[in-house]
């Protein structure tokens, strides 16, 4: 857990000074005006409020872990559980990063799970049914993801079609294509060597886990520290303002769909190689968890904005809850209830928070 919350906290403490004033209570009291001793108490209160509003989920996460440790001490407090929680979610991390990339620039992508499913299907179909070398099949699967993202970008950005309708249609279309090339059956039989790309054990956790951390951190650095990230924020906030400031808005929007496609492709490849194959009909189950984590992620680290680290934290927060409840004896319906509720709660909370920020 600490392995990645620590860098998160450090990073946002230094970079997120800009959102200091986002909390309405701190705006009103404006602690920076008087740094002297009488104001110190209220500054502390404000700091505590700010930490709570940013890292509230981390606190709830910790409390949840403590609760499960007492409720199911024999099963929850084991290294096996830690492995289940942190070893199983890297597909979701890449999928959620795809969602963050489009949402952050004011776009919308409902086809992420289907692009992932297509890539996950193309890899074993190419390697086993067609018989190309596995590394080539892997590359083809990634290219398929990029092409699918570029198709979305072309229709939405160049032709100017509504993103929700387009990606909804694309999601069903791509699912159909995946089912067609796999003949509606699960294709399995990828080599163990290939699967090591994802599951090779490093310090108790599979390699794929570290890929997820790396992509989230790099993405967060791009968003917070580079001109590209600043441009993305403005394209997301107000496209016209961005255009009149000389930003190539269309390029950024198109790029976000292409990146989304690539990230979905990686998610698909990881999924496929880790289990040796893929059943295309299961891909749609991944959409909701990814969206839930993306939206709930806006309540963490940088409140009110889609951000990679918040999303990463949320993914592991949600799966901890699900694993814990399942260990307490609830069956698998728990995950539907949990993810569904999380999405609704997340959207509600972030909308209300946004209103409070804007209204002064």
């Amino acid at each position: 857990m600490t392995a990645f919350t620590t860098p998160t906290e450090e990073k946002s403490m230094t970079t997120n000074v800009s959102s200091t004033k986002i909390d309405p209570s701190t705006t009103a009291t404006s602690p920076s005006q008087s740094p002297n001793s009488p104001a110190r108490d209220s500054a502390l209160v404000a700091l505590r409020k700010r930490l709570l509003s940013r890292y509230g989920i981390v606190l709830v996460w910790f409390l949840m872990a403590v609760f499960f440790s007492f409720a199911a001490p024999k099963t929850f407090l084991t290294f096996g559980t830690v492995q289940t929680i942190f070893g199983s979610q890297s597909t979701l991390v890449f999928l959620a990063m795809a969602a963050v990339a489009t949402f952050a620039v004011g776009e919308f992508d409902l086809s992420i799970a289907s692009i992932m499913g297509l890539s996950a299907t193309v890899l074993p179909v190419m390697a086993i049914n067609v018989g190309v070398p596995e590394w080539a099949a892997l590359l083809i699967a990634l290219v398929v993801g990029v092409l699918a993202g570029a198709a979305n970008g072309f229709i939405i950005v160049i032709l100017g079609i509504d993103p929700i309708v387009t990606t909804l249609g694309m999601s069903v279309l791509l699912l159909g294509i995946a089912q067609a090339i796999s003949n509606l059956v699960a294709v399995t039989g990828l080599s163990l060597q290939l699967s090591n790309l994802a599951v090779y054990n490093v310090a108790g956790l599979p390699l794929a886990f570290y890929y997820g951390i790396v992509i989230a951190v790099i993405f967060a650095i791009v968003l917070a520290f580079t001109p590209l990230g600043r441009h993305m924020r403005f394209v997301g906030a107000n496209r016209e303002v961005a255009r009149l400031s000389g930003i190539r808005v269309q390029r950024i929007r198109f790029g976000s769909y292409v990146f989304s496609g690539l990230s979905c492709g990686v998610a698909g490849v990881l999924l496929s190689v880790s289990v040796g194959g893929f059943d295309s009909s299961t891909s749609s189950a991944y959409l909701l968890p990814a969206l839930a984590a993306t939206f709930l992620g806006t309540a963490v680290v940088r409140p009110g904005t889609f951000n990679p680290i918040g999303t990463l934290v949320t993914i592991y927060f949600l799966v901890t809850g699900i694993v814990g409840l399942q260990l307490l004896g609830f069956s698998s319906w728990v995950s539907n209830v949990f993810y569904g509720a999380a999405l609704v709660v997340a959207v509600t909370v972030s909308t209300i928070a946004r209103k409070r920020i804007i209204r002064r």
Binding site: S30, S32, F234, R360
Partner: protein, 525 residues
């Protein structure tokens, strides 16, 4: 209250017996430690036109938000309509039942729907049987209301086909639906801001007609002339407190009133034109003029003009005469079909495929008039808005550094007196005048060769206006060629070297300094 503030009059002149139509007393509003309204009193008599004046950030919009129920006031506030206390918290449906309606700046009309639908929205009645709308009846009611206002508007027309002045009339017609003729109170919250000058007299006549029949009108505005022309009495807010309560406009000159608003004398603004051109010609590295040749767009028809470095050229005209499109054409912001050439020294650039990025590369920067739509991302912080156009150039491939961004913000504060000088504050939390200053600074810091501005002082109070004009003049002194599109005759007369008057997409007159504001107005008409 200090003694230098004259005319702090309370409601002595309320004729005894009749209760005021609207009475707000002891209204305070605190956000955290900020007291935005401090014991404010506002009394509006039946059948009067009452002006509520104040600078941006003086508290007028907060007061209206309290009245409309959007904010709840601190305890102790009293709000009465016709002498009957309004229960708090205020519920918007409740105040309209009592005959009070507020027309906001945006007018709140729904495009794509007819005049009838827009007027009757919110008042639709259903037939006795079934729950269907009786459109014949609704249309008749709309026609009736429009006839009452003596407005010649076809009730079946779509809102989109009306010109902006007619739209304002429709918005008033809708507001009148909840008002019994001869009673009630209509609050216009900066509603005239979007109206072009030529429709204002018609609009004023409508309002005066309503007041004559007994409906009270409150106009919330920072436009002094407008309020003086229209209102019987005014209430002035400054820093959240009333500095003049219900003062008759007959007793007050414009100068006195602006002193009440500002708390100080109007900043006198003079620009030494000879000095500016002398300094500019000293910067010899620059080619002497920027030439616009045969610029054509949707309304602009083959306009050519030359601007020297250090010169401020004003362009003005009626709405859609072309001066309001030209800035967007030459800055690459327009997406309409366009043509023409911009020449500077030996380099010539076609306008036809010019993008904003291209224009910026050749040193042309645009300050658009639509601040929240095109100028600034208001939900993001001030400093990143300010530095946005330079973020790539200043950072290269490396990470963003905050030091130069801070330095830019400090320069902006120094140039334009932005308050509060807090770089992390969201733009939306700044007052309108300060937002406008941030927008101007965003482009001044770009040090453009050609600075193009469209209505840079719109919706800005007197103090901010002077700061903005000073900064524009300073840019010209620094060698920039400035093209200023505006309908504010006073601004133009203060700052420009030349003024070009547009009519039907062409330049029809050229005026030279010194100007009188009246002369500019008559040249436009």
């Amino acid at each position: 209250m200090s003694s230098d503030i004259q005319h702090v009059i309370t409601a002595d002149n309320v004729s005894s017996g009749t209760a005021p139509r609207l009475r707000m007393a002891h209204v305070s509003k605190t956000f955290g430690r900020n007291k935005v309204l401090d014991d404010v009193t506002l009394e509006i008599l039946p059948g009067e036109v009452h002006g509520l004046l104040g600078q941006n950030g003086s508290g007028k919009s907060t007061l209206i938000k309290v009245l409309s129920g959007l904010y709840s006031p601190d305890s102790g506030a009293e709000i009465e309509i016709d002498g009957v206390e309004l229960p708090q918290p205020i519920n918007p449906a409740g105040i309209s039942q009592r005959g009070l309606t507020i027309i906001h700046q945006s007018l709140g009309l729904i495009p794509g729907h007819s005049v009838t639908e827009n007027i009757r929205m919110g008042s639709l009645e259903r037939r006795r049987f079934g729950r269907f709308i009786d459109w014949k009846y609704e249309r008749a009611r709309a026609v009736e209301t429009l006839a009452d206002m003596q407005a010649d508007i076809d009730p079946d027309q779509l809102i989109d086909t009306l010109h902006i002045g007619q739209r304002a009339t429709v918005a008033i017609a809708r507001a009148l639906q909840v008002i019994v003729p001869g009673s009630g109170c209509l609050v216009l919250d900066e509603s005239t801001q979007s109206l072009p000058r030529e429709v204002l007299p018609e609009f004023y006549d409508t309002l005066r007609g309503l007041a004559k029949r007994g409906t009270s009108i409150a106009i919330v505005s920072h436009r002094l002339e407008e309020v003086l022309a229209l209102a019987d009495r005014v209430t002035v807010l400054r820093d959240g407190a009333v500095t003049a309560a219900g003062v008759s406009t007959k007793e007050m000159s414009e100068a006195q009133l602006s002193r009440q608003i500002l708390g100080r004398e109007l900043i006198s603004f003079t620009r030494d034109r000879s000095e500016s051109s002398a300094e500019a010609s000293a910067t010899e590295t620059l080619p002497e003029t920027i030439n616009l040749t045969d610029i054509t767009g949707a309304t602009v028809r083959g306009v050519s003009l030359t601007i020297a470095h250090g010169e401020i050229v004003g362009i003005t005209g009626a709405t859609e005469a072309g001066q309001d499109e030209l800035p967007y054409l030459i800055a690459g912001a327009s997406t309409e079909r366009r043509s023409g050439t911009i020449t500077r020294g030996k380099s010539a650039r076609s306008v036809a495929d010019l993008t904003v990025a291209d224009a910026l590369d050749s040193g042309i920067a645009l300050v658009p008039s639509d601040r929240a739509g095109q100028g600034l991302a208001v939900e993001l912080d001030a400093v990143s808005n300010l530095t946005l156009p330079r973020i790539t150039k200043r950072s290269g491939r490396g990470p963003l550094r905050s030091s130069w961004q801070r330095a830019e913000f400090e320069r902006a504060v120094e140039m334009l007196r932005i308050t509060p000088p807090d770089p992390e504050q969201l733009v939306t939390s700044y007052s309108g005048g300060n937002q406008q200053k941030i927008l101007l600074a965003k482009w001044l810091l770009h040090e453009p060769q050609l600075l193009v501005l469209h209505e840079p002082t719109q919706a800005v109070d007197v103090g901010a206006r002077a700061d903005i004009l000073h900064a524009i003049a300073a840019a010209a002194r620094g060698g920039a060629a400035v093209l200023l599109a505006s309908i504010e005759a006073q601004d133009l007369s203060l700052i420009c070297d030349r003024i070009l008057v547009f009519e039907a997409g062409r330049i029809v007159r050229e005026l030279h300094a010194p100007f009188a504001p009246d002369g500019i107005l008559s040249a436009v008409e």
